[in-house]
């Protein structure tokens, strides 16, 4: 009986010793992590200047349709009649007829403002983030159309499945408080 309780005591002693060292290990790992931690959460966002419009944002997001959408930085837009992001390169006429539209889901609305300017609005519900218009706008226009991850759709996966396959590593973690990289804007802050 005595020897049994002895061995039990010994086992308990070892157990609590190991427990303490495990707790210490946990503490030091978390302390080390804490020393380099930040309060903000991270979210994923696209750097529009590194994006090469490869089309993977449309095909590789875990969401269908993708949480990546085209956004329009109106400040940069030329409001052109012949919009490289709206019309197919070989469009016959500059009308809103479906056969002239570049967007595979007709997600861009074209509105006449005044001669000769037109406004282009992205319908987020239809946009699939394929970047076809971004390519057209960047090649032939001012690059006001660009892709962004829209955060009320994005699930903020721990490992973004688009970032993993992005050929130009344009998708990066950014702080949640600075969640968008909307292309720069001239008229609002000329002095900065």
């Amino acid at each position: 009986m005595e020897s049994k309780s002895k061995s039990k005591n010994r086992r308990e002693f070892i157990q609590s010793g190991v427990r303490l060292s495990l707790a210490l290990a946990l503490g030091s790992v978390s302390g080390l992590a804490l020393s380099r931690s930040i309060k903000d959460d991270y979210v994923w966002q696209i750097d529009p200047f590194e994006c090469t419009q490869c089309g993977r944002c449309a095909t590789d997001c875990v969401m269908t349709p993708s949480a990546v959408k085209c956004v329009h930085a109106y400040d940069l837009c030329g409001y052109c009649d012949l919009c490289g992001g709206y019309f197919k390169p070989d469009a016959n006429e500059l009308t809103t007829a479906a056969e002239n539209q570049l967007c595979p889901t007709a997600a861009i609305e074209r509105k006449f403002i005044e001669e000769p300017y037109f406004e282009y609005i992205i319908n987020e519900d239809l946009c699939i983030g394929c970047a076809k218009c971004v390519k057209g706008c960047t090649s032939f226009g001012n690059g006001s159309l660009h892709l962004q991850i829209i955060h009320d759709i994005c699930l903020n996966c721990n490992d973004c499945s688009i970032a993993r396959v992005c050929p130009s590593d344009a998708i990066k973690r950014v702080k949640a408080t600075e969640a968008y990289n909307i292309k720069g804007d001239f008229t609002e802050n000329p002095e900065s």
Binding site: G55, R56, G78, D81, G84, P116, C130, S139, G141
Partner: protein
């Protein structure tokens, strides 16, 4: 043994799981990727009928600029601007002089012994005879000077920021301003969606201005009255592509036009009437989505293109 069915089922599931995981691990590799299903393709328009190509590239001049900016030719001497330097080069590519500038110019123009250059809204004149630089009254803040045209009595600058052309006297006095709105309403005024707005005076003393938003070249009197124009908006070889082209143009010695486009980068020639004539450099000569090269021509109709992406001056000689 009554669990035999279940065992087989479990083994089958295990095999499926392993296959899926291995398959997923091996996917997404660079040599297994699929082509972009949403490719924006202008390949069709990059192909150009070889019989239309009237020029042949001969040599390249390395100019050694980090940020090349502009090229001009006067009296068969090349003036190349970049960084904060203007280099003077002969037609064979030999450097004969260099001018250090107080700013990084965006454009330049040479006439007689004066070099006009501009950076943002500031306009400068460098006098080659006494090597002095003077600055004219700067334009307003939004102004962005993209091109300068000059002859003996008049200096015109293209202000892309305010979509207008400003006329100066040789002494730097502002004479007049016009925004190109035609009275008959046939054409809109200057539509400048991006910082490309070129202007030239040809050997006959006619002032030509690009209206990039209209894909047109417009001839104005010095007072700003539209005299004539021609335009051609199309992705096809004979037209100007995109929202706003041509980005640059210049004249050959006989008054024909040479144009340079961005987006679908190409250099072409047009007859004096504005009719398409031929191709100098096809899009496959440039990198994809490259910048429109600035162009200048010598008296023998050789064309010198400043390639901003490769940072060289490329020389094209007529073949016929």
């Amino acid at each position: 043994m009554k669990n035999k069915g279940i065992t087989i089922f479990l083994i089958a599931l295990a095999v499926i799981i392993v296959i899926i995981i291995v398959n997923e691990y091996l996917s997404d590799k660079p040599d297994k990727g699929k082509p972009n299903p949403y490719q924006y393709s202008v390949e069709e328009f990059k192909k150009i009928d070889p019989s239309l190509i009237r020029y042949k590239e001969s040599v390249n001049f390395r100019i050694g600029f980090d940020n090349p900016a502009a090229i001009a030719i006067y009296n068969d001497t090349i003036y190349a601007a970049g960084d904060d330097i203007i280099k003077i080069i002969d037609l064979k590519g030999t450097l004969s002089g260099q001018i250090n500038l107080p700013v990084s110019p965006h454009t330049l123009k040479v006439f007689n012994d004066k070099i006009f250059f501009a950076a943002g809204n500031r306009l400068f004149v460098y006098n080659m005879s006494d090597e002095s630089t003077s600055e004219w009254e700067p334009l307003e803040e939004l102004s962005f000077i993209t091109a300068i045209a000059a002859n003996a009595n008049d200096i015109f600058i293209a202000d892309a920021g305010n979509r207008r052309v400003v006329r100066y006297s040789p002494e730097g006095h502002l004479i007049s301003v016009f925004d190109g709105k035609a009275e008959e309403g046939a054409l809109h005024g200057f539509i400048i969606p991006s910082a490309y707005f070129d202007i030239e005076i040809n050997d006959e003393g006619k002032l030509w201005i690009v209206n990039p938003g209209m894909h047109s070249l417009e001839n104005y009197t010095f007072e700003g009255q539209l005299r004539s124009h021609w335009k051609h908006a199309s992705m096809k070889t004979e037209g100007f592509s995109g929202c706003c082209n041509p980005a640059f143009f210049t004249f050959l010695s006989d008054g024909r036009f040479v144009t340079s486009e961005k987006g679908l980068v190409r250099i072409k020639t047009y007859k004096v009437s504005g009719e398409f004539e031929g191709v100098v450099a096809a899009p496959d000569k440039f990198i994809e989505d490259g910048h429109a090269p600035d162009i200048a021509a010598d008296s023998k109709n050789n064309i010198y293109a400043m390639d901003f992406d490769k940072k060289v001056i490329r020389v094209f000689n007529p073949v016929d």
